[in-house]
Each structure stands twice: as C-alpha cells, then as structure tokens.
C-alpha cells in the first residue's frame, strides 16, 4: 500500500514518516510540507492513502482533499478535534488528533480498503433479484445512493445493489467516473450538458454539490 504524508510541521511529519517505515506493507510514496506540491506529485503518482494535516498556511487539508483526482483513502492528522465532523463529511476513513501514537496510526490504516483489481476490468456483476447480471462498466450512465443501497442506471434500467457509494466509487474506474454529489457518481461519457449546479446525464438532470464541483470541472476537457 502506497501512502503520502502532507503536514507543514516538520516534527510531526518526520514522526509519521518513521511510523510508515516501521509498518509492514506500507510504502512512503512522498512526504510534503506544502499541499500544492503534494497535488502536483499525485497527478503522476497515485497513492492508496493520504495522511494529511488540516491547518496549513498555503492551502488547508480540506481544500487539498477537494482537489484530489482519483479516489485515495484520506486520514486527517490534526491538532484539533473540532474539524472531525467536516473531515468525515469529506469521506475521511479516520481522524487522528496529535500527538498520534503508533498503535492508533496502525489502527487507522487497517480501515483502508484497497479497491479490487478493477484496473483492467471491463465488466461488473450486479445482483438483480436472484441472478447476477453482467454489465459493461462503460455502459453505466450513473449511480445513485438509495439509503443502504445504490441504484446502478444503465440504458434506462436501474439495478439496485446493497452496497455503499464509497465502495461503488472504488470499483468504478476513476478515469471514466466522477463523484458529483454525496448521492451521485456519473459516467463522463454520458454527460450532455453542465450548468451551474446541475449536470445532464443521458436524460436525467442531477445536482452537483459544491464539494465535488471543483473536482468535476478540473477533470472536464473544456475550451
């Protein structure tokens, strides 16, 4: 598992680097004082998990996470408890308050779920009633959250599956799919039009939340 550390405090960063070094199956892909430099690095070097501070001078940890491409797991490591709610709103898998002890650090990493080997997968099976239906991943128009289930929309049909949006996001290739809202993941190829706060996917108009809009726009090929 590859990780990246972002913290403007050298002492904390070096201790976490050392923790990474002594943890089996964990490699340090990079360690940055500056979130903007970390984002540049991540464009060419995707990682599985990002360990990021929140209060940093040039860009805070939340803004950095909003700008992430791909879907790495995020663990916030910070000096204050007050950001916890916002951190989990950003889909953080854990929130560590400094000083961070090694066993707590390992405990957080155990929550990282590596995506199944979807890199070259072209198909995904969804359970429809008592049968498993084979779907071409690229035929999926969009995915919506329905409580404890998700709806996978393909050519006007909806398959309801018992899973989470987070898991769906991990299973869908991030070069083709993008989260636009807490409740929606869309296929780029199915976008017809984007307005201020909505996107038309096939014939459906879906909301874009402020949190995900920046990331969506960054990934669009625009003039």
């Amino acid at each position: 598992m590859h990780c990246l550390i972002v913290d403007d405090d050298n002492t904390s960063r070096k201790v976490i680097e050392s923790f990474v070094e002594q943890t089996e199956d964990l490699d340090l892909a990079g360690s940055f004082e500056n979130p903007k430099e970390a984002l540049q690095f991540l464009k060419k070097n995707p990682v599985d998990v990002i360990l990021v501070d929140i209060e940093m001078p040039e860009m805070n940890g939340f803004d950095m996470v909003d700008s992430l491409q791909g879907n790495p797991s995020v663990i916030f490591i910070t000096g204050k408890e007050k950001y916890a709610v916002e951190a989990f709103d950003k889909n953080a898998i854990d929130y560590l308050v400094k000083p961070v002890k090694y066993d707590r650090f390992v405990n957080a990493l155990e929550k990282v779920q590596l995506p199944d080997a979807v890199g070259d997968a072209k198909f995904i099976f969804v359970k429809s009633g008592s049968v498993l239906v084979k779907l071409d991943i690229y035929d999926i128009d969009y995915v919506e959250s329905i409580g404890d289930y998700i709806g996978v929309h393909v050519g006007g049909k909806r398959y309801v599956v018992h899973t989470t949006m987070k898991e769906a996001e991990q299973k869908l290739p991030n070069d083709q799919f993008c989260r636009i809202h807490r409740s929606f993941i869309i296929n780029f190829g199915r976008i017809n039009q984007i307005e201020e706060n909505t996107v038309s996917v096939v014939e459906k108009v879906l909301p874009i939340s402020r949190t995900y809009r920046k990331n969506l726009m960054k990934r669009m090929n625009t003039f």
């Binding site: 405090d9 002492t11 201790v15 050392s18 209060e55 400094k98 000083p99 002890k101």
Partner: protein
C-alpha cells in the same frame, strides 16, 4: 523533561535524535515569529504559529511547551507574560536536550 509516552519514543533512537534536532531548529524560529507577532498584536498569526508549535511539542512530549502554546492560541492569553514563560520553557527544554 520529555513525556516517555510521547510518539517520539516510538521511533528508533537515531531517528529520534534527528527529529529533536529538527524540532529545536523549528521551535526557535516559531518562538521568534510568535514574539514578533505578539508585539504586533497579530492574533491570528500568533494563533497559527502557536498551533503548529503545539503539535510539534506534543509529538515530542514537551508538555510544558504544549500547554504554553495552547495558551498562546487563545487571543486573551497572547501577552508578554505568556510569551516570557514560553521562551523560558524552550530554553530549559533546549538545555535538557543538548
């Protein structure tokens, strides 16, 4: 002087020494910044610098420094008296570590 339960004691001795060196350098700079900004009454800048130093101090297990930085995060405590205590705590810590 350092809390033996601090994270710094969970890394190898060699790495610990290098981290202490980094801490002393950064803390010296941070205290200089805190002093300047306290005199200028730039409360938010003091808060940010104190917050960062608090995290580093807690990681190191320097409890007195951690507590004083926490005080300096509070605009009502950003005064020359707290600053004096912070500087004294740092000098004492430095002496014990070098």
């Amino acid at each position: 002087m350092l809390d033996p339960n601090a994270p710094i004691f969970e890394v190898s001795e060699e790495i610990r020494d290098s981290i202490i060196e980094v801490y002393l350098r950064d803390a010296g700079q941070a205290i200089g910044e805190i002093e300047f900004e306290t005199i200028q009454k730039n409360h938010e800048t003091v808060r940010k610098a104190a917050h960062k130093l608090k995290g580093a101090s807690a990681t190191l297990g320097a409890s007195e420094m951690t507590d004083l930085c926490r005080s300096m995060e509070n605009p009502l405590m950003q005064n020359l008296e707290t600053l004096k205590k912070l500087k004294a705590a740092f000098e004492s810590l430095k002496k014990s570590l070098t």
